[in-house]
């Protein structure tokens, strides 16, 4: 299943691109939300709850709930549900609260 109509975002679904999720290569469409590509690839766990470390998945889909906060190209707390996918992105599930200062260009 792939998100075609987003409740608030308009995006052009571009060419097929390759990105990595926790080191593994995944295919998605350029410009669609990162979480849409992950979901289509069958990836359901995007983060873990703060206290009990329970799995958290795709939920509000509009950048509000923090359930999809992920590390993207080294930047913590990126809302994967609203961030457009680009070719070669490095997407990782985040440990702890997210560490600043290890971004690719920072």
């Amino acid at each position: 299943m792939r998100i075609q109509n987003h409740p608030i975002l308009k995006f052009e679904k571009g060419r097929r691109v390759i990105f990595t999720f926790n080191g593994a290569e995944v295919e998605g469409c350029e410009g669609e939300p990162i979480a849409a590509a992950l979901h289509a690839a069958g990836i359901r766990v995007l983060s873990h709850s703060r206290n009990y470390k329970r799995p958290r998945g795709f939920w509000c889909a509009i950048g509000n709930c923090s359930s999809c906060n992920m590390r993207v190209n080294g930047v913590p707390n990126v809302r994967a549900c609203v961030e457009p996918l680009l070719d070669g992105m490095i997407v990782e599930t985040q440990q702890g609260e997210g560490a600043v200062g290890s971004g690719i260009d920072g």
Partner: protein
């Protein structure tokens, strides 16, 4: 509502609750606190939670020094069923110009005289303590590792509960609307819920203090000034001390849950009560913070709020009796009420009880503004 009280404290923030607690400890049996909203609704619950001794006047240094001694043992001394979250992570003061550096040097002499452990840092030391800081324009910096932070809500709650156990009565959502006097003597406080006969009133209303004073015919030159703060999403610990920057007039600190609190003083802020928040503030602040900590450009702001300082003409607290109004006491931290609250509470209670005060608060009496005896605090943000 109660009909009479030995002392009525107006204001349910950290100073009001600390004063009420200390009054009860000194043996006052019938102490009442009036709060027009809820406990911590005003400046205490809106402050940036920082606690420092690195001030530029002797009294600010001393009151904060004594307050830190209280914070250090607060969970035990107030028998608090929790943690007031006092953490001595330090305050790092950074300057970008020779003029600001000269102020830090001047302050350091005072700190040495008073036994406050402040030290000068080389740029390498700064980088070691805060690896994410941009050291480019730093001319001088000082640090005091006894300084730090506490949770304003929990500190106030600790005083509130301890005071309650000693019999202090709290009336929230109760607004003072006026007073009754006989000659210069206060005889009663009038509220929207009824009247309380009393001969002693402590004004601990922070930025609202001048409005209370006006009801007593007293002209108090302490003006409310709005300050805004932003808070970011929580992050892993990366910023240990609070960093205060006199060039940007800003501060930035990471609190216990990992969120970063940051704000700056706007020199053009008009005086008055105003709880609005502005996007211009976020824009300006973001530029100041990212300039100091480039990694902060990755970080998301989750909330913004505003609160008020009570600005006194010299940046020092206003404490003690008021000439011309018998039974009226001011307990105003003036922009640093939360961090000074443990000691202000103690000093004002001693003053109301007619005891010698632990520190000479006569210097901070409101009379100084009429006499022009101002000792101006230089190190404010």
């Amino acid at each position: 509502m109660i009909k009479s009280a030995d002392v009525v404290v107006i204001g349910g923030g950290s100073i009001g609750c600390a004063t009420a607690y200390n009054l009860a400890r000194l043996g006052f049996k019938n102490v009442v606190v009036l709060e027009k909203g809820y406990i911590c609704r005003g400046s205490t619950g809106r402050c940036a939670a920082g606690i420092r001794q690195q001030w530029g006047t002797e009294m600010n240094c001393l009151i904060s020094r004594y307050s830190i001694r209280h914070f250090e043992v607060m969970n035990e001394s107030l028998e608090y069923d929790g943690d007031v979250e006092f953490r001595q992570n330090g305050y790092l003061m950074v300057s970008y110009s020779q003029k600001e550096a000269a102020m830090l040097k001047e302050n350091l002499k005072l700190h040495e005289k008073l036994g406050i452990p402040v030290r000068f840092l080389s740029v390498d030391d700064v980088k070691e303590i805060v690896p994410v800081i941009n050291t480019e324009r730093i001319v001088a910096s000082t640090i005091c590792m006894e300084d730090g932070q506490a949770n304003p809500f929990k500190v106030t709650d600790a005083y509130y509960r301890a005071a309650g156990r000693l019999g202090v009565k709290f009336y929230t959502y109760t607004e003072v609307t006026g007073f009754k006097k006989e000659g210069e003597k206060i005889t009663a406080v009038v509220t929207d819920k009824g009247e309380i006969a009393t001969s002693a009133v402590v004004n601990a209303t922070g930025p609202y203090a001048k409005f209370i004073s006006a009801m007593l015919g007293h002209d108090l030159p302490v003006e409310p000034e709005r300050h805004q703060i932003v808070v970011t999403e929580p992050l892993d610990p990366f910023l240990r001390p609070l960093v205060m920057n006199f060039f940007h007039n800003s501060y930035c600190q990471q609190v216990l849950n990992g969120s970063v609190l940051a704000g700056y003083g706007n020199p053009d802020e008009p005086k008055g009560i105003n709880y609005d928040c502005s996007w211009q503030f976020i824009k300006e602040l973001a530029a100041k913070i990212v300039d100091q900590f480039p990694v902060m450009k990755e970080v998301n702001i989750v909330r913004q709020w505003s609160g008020h300082y009570g600005i006194s003409p010299d940046g020092q607290p206003v404490l003690g009796t008021v000439p011309g109004v018998e039974g009226y006491y001011l307990a105003l931290g003036c922009g640093k009420g939360f961090m000074l609250s443990p000691m202000i509470g103690e000093l004002i209670a001693q003053c109301v009880a007619g005891q010698d005060t632990t520190l000479p608060i006569g210097i901070l009496n409101v009379r100084r503004f009429k006499k022009g005896e101002l000792i101006v605090e230089p190190a404010v943000v």
